[in-house]
């Protein structure tokens, strides 16, 4: 057996500590917002966070999915949250992120210490059949918090038309009225416009970063990508995140130039799908023993990344409206730009048809030069597991070996490490990969 040293040079990421800091500050800022006379709001990672930004720079969000994932890292705390939610009567098969989040509210314990900081209002969007209802429950658990959700389920990107956009933009205008009414603040369009531009910039840049992973050997492995992409799920509309992603892009481009690899012994490239079982990221380390690297997934690429298909068929980052010379100078325009931009989100397309997702996955498999695919049948998220069995069939048909493992992104009771490991052993055998070190 070879040892851990392989043929490629490796290097830790320089941007690491900064990523960590941004994340820590984010939760601190949220918790302490009131002390500085600011506001707190809660919503999902997909919500239009650019819009509440118009209420002022002292308005701090908490997005429940990444928060739920943070809980899941702490198995003991997570279990307490999950059981508190079950005790309250909520079913075990509901979104695992939300069950962790609801549990924190019920226990009144913030994953980052202290009592759970109650938000001033709830700001969400709705594409899966539960999104808005998550916050209906949050509002009830918190004893009634003003709640506004925007329905964005108007169909796939190739069917966008004026009627659909008007529907969403109309709701956004109502939403701004709601924000002014609930907070008593005057809404500032210039802040909105800034936030919309940041949203486009951070999501376009994240896609650029993912593009670099087409390189062999891959400069990033999925495990480290998780810690970077998460910032976009926290606050894609913030200046800080947009700027940070540009730094990351520069660093990764430099890694590619110098041939720095994520894994020393890359011989086999795979991608995953849906959120991983957060408590068990060691699964990805285990792959390295076989010289196998997960270069990402439609999830890491497409949840926060903005993409488009280039004339030559390559999947590339979407040019920002600014780059396209679109001028954004009033509220309505800003909202329209934001709507169109988000309606192209890759992770929103499969809600209308798994076959659209299959096409994107096969495109990734080709252009990122994959040997196989590992699908996480995720019991914790019906939204991203939607149609996953059809994706499996399509990938196999396209000639990519597929491994399936069941688990749950936020409920460790539904993930069986030993069985998954032995599943990986078998899969690696089928890919002719031998363990290189223990």
């Amino acid at each position: 057996m070879a040892d851990k040293k392989g043929k490629y040079p490796t290097e830790p990421l320089k941007c690491w500590d900064k990523a960590k800091k941004i994340r820590e500050d984010y939760y601190k800022d949220y918790a302490s917002a009131h002390e500085k006379g600011g506001l707190r709001w809660a919503g999902g990672a997909w919500t239009f966070d650019a819009i509440p930004a118009g209420l002022g720079d002292d308005v701090h969000p908490i997005t429940s999915e990444p928060y739920g994932a943070s809980c899941a890292f702490n198995k003991e705390f997570s279990l307490k949250c999950l059981e508190a939610t079950e005790k309250a009567g909520y079913a075990r098969d509901l979104c695992a992120y939300m069950r962790n989040y609801w549990g924190s509210i019920l226990l009144n314990q913030f994953a980052f210490g202290g009592p759970f900081p109650k938000p001033d209002f709830l700001w969400q969007d709705h594409i899966c059949c539960s999104h808005a209802k998550w916050y209906q429950v949050v509002s009830e658990l918190e004893g009634g918090i003003p709640h506004f959700s925007i329905d964005v389920s108007v169909g796939p990107e190739h069917e966008i038309n004026a009627n659909k956009i008007d529907y969403i933009v109309g709701q956004m205008h109502d939403g701004i009225e709601f924000l002014e009414k609930t907070t008593g603040r005057k809404y500032q369009d210039n802040l909105l416009i800034k936030a919309v531009k940041n949203t486009c910039r951070s999501t376009s840049t994240w896609a650029k970063i993912c593009e670099l992973n087409k390189t062999v050997p891959a400069p990033l492995d999925e495990k480290s990508m998780y810690s970077l992409y998460v910032l976009g799920t926290l606050q894609k509309s913030s200046q800080e995140v947009a700027d940070f992603y540009e730094e990351v892009y520069a660093e990764v481009r430099d890694r590619v130039a110098r041939g720095i690899s994520a894994t020393p012994n890359e011989r086999c490239r795979v991608m995953s799908d849906t959120q991983p079982p957060w408590g068990f990221l060691s699964v990805f380390r285990y792959l390295e023993k076989f010289g196998t690297v997960s270069i990402g997934s439609l999830y890491t690429f497409g949840l926060i990344g903005a993409w488009e298909v280039a004339p030559d068929g390559e999947w590339v980052h979407r040019k920002t409206p600014m780059e396209q010379g679109v001028s954004i100078n009033d509220r309505d325009k800003a909202l329209r730009v934001l709507t169109e931009w988000e309606l192209h989100k890759p992770e929103w397309q499969h809600f209308y048809s798994p076959h659209l997702k299959s096409d994107m996955m096969i495109r990734i498999a080709k252009q990122w030069k994959l040997n196989g695919v590992m699908l996480h049948y995720n019991r914790g998220c019906e939204g991203l597991s939607l149609g996953i069995a059809e994706n499996r069939l399509a990938l196999l048909k396209a000639g990519y070996p597929v491994m399936v493992f069941e688990g749950n992104m936020g409920d460790e009771r539904e993930f069986d490490m030993t069985r998954t490991m032995s599943r990986i052993d078998s899969f690696m055998e089928t890919l002719q990969m031998k363990k290189e070190f223990e």
Partner: protein, 288 residues
């Protein structure tokens, strides 16, 4: 297999200090469970005699045998029984019963008799299901919850396990405490996979007792979460076979942070007792 480790002891009992001839109303309660059958005879609402045996594949026969055995040695004959209520899983298949009542109602009523009127929460750990019942001072059911679809945390599950580890089922409880320190509970909820996991632990060199401990605490925790969902109010009573398994009960007490009330008789007969008591009420109300 020569020895059947899952098999618990079948037995019968007669009260030394009751003379049935002096009794006004003699009633009978028959609890035909999926795993065990109890026939309880009561004289004016006091426990006179009972039998406790394993259920065969035919409920009517099991009930018959149970009754014969309960009457055995007493010179009491079935024609003297004013009224019989059948309960449990085979309640509708008790040939000599005048009426059937669910085990949920009967266990609540039985617990009320065996543990006293202060009982508000009853946990019945039966052969195949596990019921959490909230009741009032009369033993009237307020609400109940039953485990679904999966048998983890049931008597049958424990039997399967005793068989696997080749430990007599009565011993499981005490042995599970003979460990240096409490191991983490087995993670699998499925009875069969719990077996697989256990075999794995044994292979990895765990002593039997430690595996038993891990299984008992897993079971205790499952039951705990079921109880949490209905809400536990004192006094808390456990009926059914598992009540006799201290390995589970002690751990459950620890999780709940309260102690289980002590019964006047074998908690496994609570259902039968409740049935016999209902029989008495029905006789008195002239409903018989």
């Amino acid at each position: 297999m020569v020895e059947e480790f899952w098999r618990w002891k079948e037995y019968r009992w007669t009260s030394p200090d009751i003379d049935w001839k002096t009794a006004k109303t003699l009633t009978c309660g028959v609890d035909v469970g999926s795993v065990s059958t109890q026939v309880v005879l009561m004289a004016d609402g006091e426990l006179y005699a009972f039998s406790n045996m394993r259920t065969g594949s035919s409920s009517p026969e099991s009930a018959e045998n149970g009754l014969k055995w309960a009457l055995e040695g007493t010179d009491l004959t079935r024609d003297k029984l004013a009224y019989t209520v059948g309960t449990g899983y085979g309640r509708v298949n008790v040939p000599f019963a005048n009426r059937a009542i669910t085990e949920i109602a009967c266990h609540a009523r039985g617990a009320n008799f065996m543990y006293g009127p202060t009982v508000r929460t009853v946990l019945d750990m039966g052969g195949q299901d596990c019921k959490a019942i909230r009741c009032d001072e009369k033993g009237k059911v307020i609400s109940f919850l039953m485990n679904d679809k999966c048998a983890a945390g049931t008597g049958r599950g424990m039997e399967v396990f005793a068989e696997l580890l080749q430990v007599p089922i009565e011993k499981v409880g005490e042995l599970s405490f003979q460990v240096e320190q409490e191991p983490p509970p087995v993670s699998s909820t499925c009875v069969v996979f719990a077996k697989t996991e256990a075999s794995g632990l044994l292979r990895a060199g765990w002593p039997k007792n430690k595996v038993l401990a891990a299984y008992c605490s897993a079971m205790a925790h499952r039951i705990f979460t079921l109880l949490e969902r209905i809400g536990v109010e004192k006094d808390f009573a456990i009926t059914g076979g598992i009540a006799k398994n201290i390995g589970v009960v002690k751990r459950l007490e620890k999780e709940l942070g309260l102690t289980v009330a002590t019964p006047r008789a074998d908690p496994q007969i609570a259902g039968g007792v409740g049935a016999a008591l209902f029989a008495k009420t029905l006789v008195e109300k002239g409903k018989a």
